[in-house]
Symmetry: C2
Subunit: 463 residues, 2 copies
């Protein structure tokens, strides 16, 4: 009885625990789902083109499925509709360039390898039943070895890697399956036509429904990176002259993410190279001609990256002790900040040149201003030391000298970026700014300059 | 007659030209071929594993062709041998990790998508002949859209991208071809088994014949990068104190490529990440356990990269004017060079720790030496300015201050590398050095130190 009584007493407690367990599991599942959907939402919101791309893949696959669902289409490709479906899945990529690159690689490689394999198969079948599999086996081994090795060539790796793989695939499939299939030529022909249909469908959907151009993405990425650098150059230089402790400065850095924008530029190389590689496959679109100099964008990217390396070194200085030489710091603050400010303006101007594909009439002026600002900085250092205050020791000026020196270094690298952009504008025949745009821009630059506190006066007339 | 005479005179000249043309074409073709074969030879010589990999692919493909050439094997897979061949071509990758990653992704995705597609197909066939293609079409559209979108998730993109693509492929193929094929379940089963056979063959050949482990490659790459940094740190710091003109220094830089070794480290991020990603799929091999902390290698790589950024900034100083303050430069040469030298020794020691997977007893000593060297540098700056020579102006000391400051910065970043290596050795349970190794190493370090000209004496006893 005691046992029974005990279990009947425990029963409600046990049930409650089970119930609570179920509820907590539900809550967990619910929060998991909510977390998942929040991430999905964020992913789609960050770049709505991702959602559009997913819908495009769904559309292309549904269209190609019609080859199965409609009798005349299915018979037309002799039951080989499977290759069309497969082609759509593997060829459809995010950007038009990537899709074109894969589609063309797949089409040409299939054509070449198919022809070669049919030839080898004919030769092998002439040699008699016994030696046929041996000849086929050797030919498969040889072509796989040679083409796999060719895939290590840098040129082939970047542009024709997929083609080389499809070559190996098609050659092996056609030559060895020829051993079992009677109507080899017909099979090869049907395979080729379904692959061409699949590739063409991908390219059409990719180009006609909200196209994503790798070239445009590269163009925007480079302009965006120059904007980020502009914000960072001005921010990092200014941070070094903020009054207060090192720790506080660190906090300001975290609060102000635009200062750290240059960090994105440090690692943008692989993205830029991939986009430039795809962009070369794309036809003329928007403002970009057929042979738009995409490689030049990589040069701008490289120049921007070198600028970011120096910024990284300068940013590391921020946390050093800066109290020892307040006097010197105050003296150099205006000139250093000005170099940072003009560098930043120049970068913004270059970014706008890239964005609008219009050479700016202000670039030369800003380069000249930057040179003057650098000279002023060097002059300020000279004036400072004539006579050198007796209470100043070398460790006091190490930090400020480093900041000044790195600021000059950064300005030199910004000028390299300006040169690369100038070269692009020349090669790609950028338009020249009209008088109207010119006026508007001058007003914007003036407004920007006015909003930025006191500067050392520059007499541009004296240029 | 004249005309005839003229043409008979011209004839030999014409023939000679044709002959010369043919010869020059032959010579061109010959030089093209020679150039091509020289490049092939170089590619194979640089990394003979490439040749071995190509032969392995040839071997695997020839083995899988046996499914066509041998009747019992061919009948065994119901004529679906095509999938095994295809799997070998697309799954076989350079490293074991990449092959395993692709093979497992392909196997699991095919299994999952196949089961789901058979289920959807059964459901659709219950709904009647007219609505079946509609239901199938909608299901293909939905799964393609959803899974294409999922491929944008960073986690899925890095590890399961190929699986997601194969899921879309298999689901589409099985569900739509089910509309035309009667024995769907049998087909799906045969496809799955041939894919498993192909994947297993790839994994076996890849692991058993001269395996290339991504983990080992990552391990060696990190150690090699630390070696390169070590050479660069010492080289770049020393370059700044070379006597002579800026131009000459530039030439020395070009002559001495080891100084510029750090440039490789600047852009090694994508390679390191790809290798770490593949290494996670690999089983235990050599000295690496199953859950070897590959992510920690990425942290070391990141710390090394930050060190390279500072080196890049310091290297840019080399070309500045350095004549103004020869006196200061000479005074600081010994201490700065010493910081560079000890940093370099520490990096070499860390590289050897990583290489041998054995914690070095010298690391702590070298870190302490580095701290002392940095203090000495700061002390040297203080002594220098007490009293400051009257003829020294601030612009004179800007360069030397920058070099000193960046050298200190680099030493701090080298210490970050040391911390990351220390963490790795703790997590991965590195061995401790034996007394014998210890002695040998001390002798080597002594020899290195002796061979490197005069240094400021350090009394390690006083530590």
């Amino acid at each position: 009885m005691e046992v029974n009584g005990g279990s009947s007493k425990e029963m409600p407690g046990f049930l409650t625990r089970v119930w609570q367990g179920i509820i907590s599991i539900f809550a967990m599942v619910k929060s998991c789902f909510r977390g998942f959907f929040e991430r999905v939402w964020k992913l789609g919101k960050d770049d709505p083109r991702r959602v559009v791309h997913s819908l495009k893949v769904g559309l292309a696959l549904t269209l190609v499925s019609l080859f199965y669902f409609m009798r005349p289409l299915y018979d037309g490709v002799g039951g080989m509709a499977i290759w069309a479906v497969m082609t759509v899945v593997v060829v459809f990529e995010y950007s038009v360039g990537a899709t074109l690159s894969k589609g063309l690689n797949r089409g040409f490689a299939t054509l070449l390898a198919g022809s070669l394999a049919v030839g080898v198969h004919e030769l092998a079948s002439l040699s008699g039943d016994k030696s046929e599999p041996i000849i086929l086996g050797i030919s498969v081994f040889l072509q796989a070895t040679v083409f796999t090795f060719l895939r290590f060539f840098p040129t082939i790796k970047t542009r024709y890697d997929y083609g080389a793989m499809i070559f190996i695939l098609t050659f092996s499939l056609v030559s060895v399956s020829g051993y079992r299939v009677d109507k080899l030529l017909e099979m090869a022909h049907q395979r080729l036509s379904t692959i061409l249909i699949g590739s063409a469908l991908c390219v059409l959907v990719s180009m006609l429904v909200c196209p994503v151009w790798a070239g445009e993405d590269l163009h925007n990425l480079i302009a965006k990176n120059l904007d980020k650098l502009a914000a960072s150059v001005e921010g990092v230089v200014a941070e070094n002259f903020k009054e207060g402790e090192g720790e506080e400065e660190g906090e300001i850095n975290e609060e102000n993410p635009s200062v750290l924008g240059y960090k994105c530029v440090l690692n943008s190389k692989p993205t830029e190279e991939a986009l430039a590689n795809f962009a070369r496959w794309e036809p003329a679109h928007g403002p970009f001609g057929f042979r738009h100099p995409w490689k030049q964008y990589l040069k701008i990217g490289m120049a921007a990256r070198y600028c970011a390396y120096s910024l990284e070194a300068l940013n590391a200085c921020t946390n050093s002790d800066s109290q020892a030489a307040q006097e010197l710091t105050q003296h150099l603050k205006a000139v250093c900040t000005k170099v940072g400010h003009v560098s930043s303006d120049l970068l913004l101007d270059l970014s706008s040149t890239v964005k609008k594909m219009t050479t700016s009439s202000h670039t030369d002026l800003l380069v000249a201003q930057l040179n003057i600002a650098v000279q002023e900085l060097q002059l300020a250092l000279k004036i400072l030391s004539n006579p050198l205050p007796v209470h100043v020791s070398i460790p006091d000026i190490v930090l400020i000298a480093t900041v000044a020196s790195l600021t000059v270094e950064i300005s030199a690298r910004v000028e390299d970026v300006a040169e690369a952009v100038e070269e692009l504008s020349r090669i790609a025949h950028f338009k020249t700014e009209t008088a109207e745009e010119n006026k508007q821009k001058a007003a914007t630059i003036k407004a920007l300059a006015d909003s930025d506190g006191p500067h050392v006066a520059i007499h541009v007339d004296s240029l």
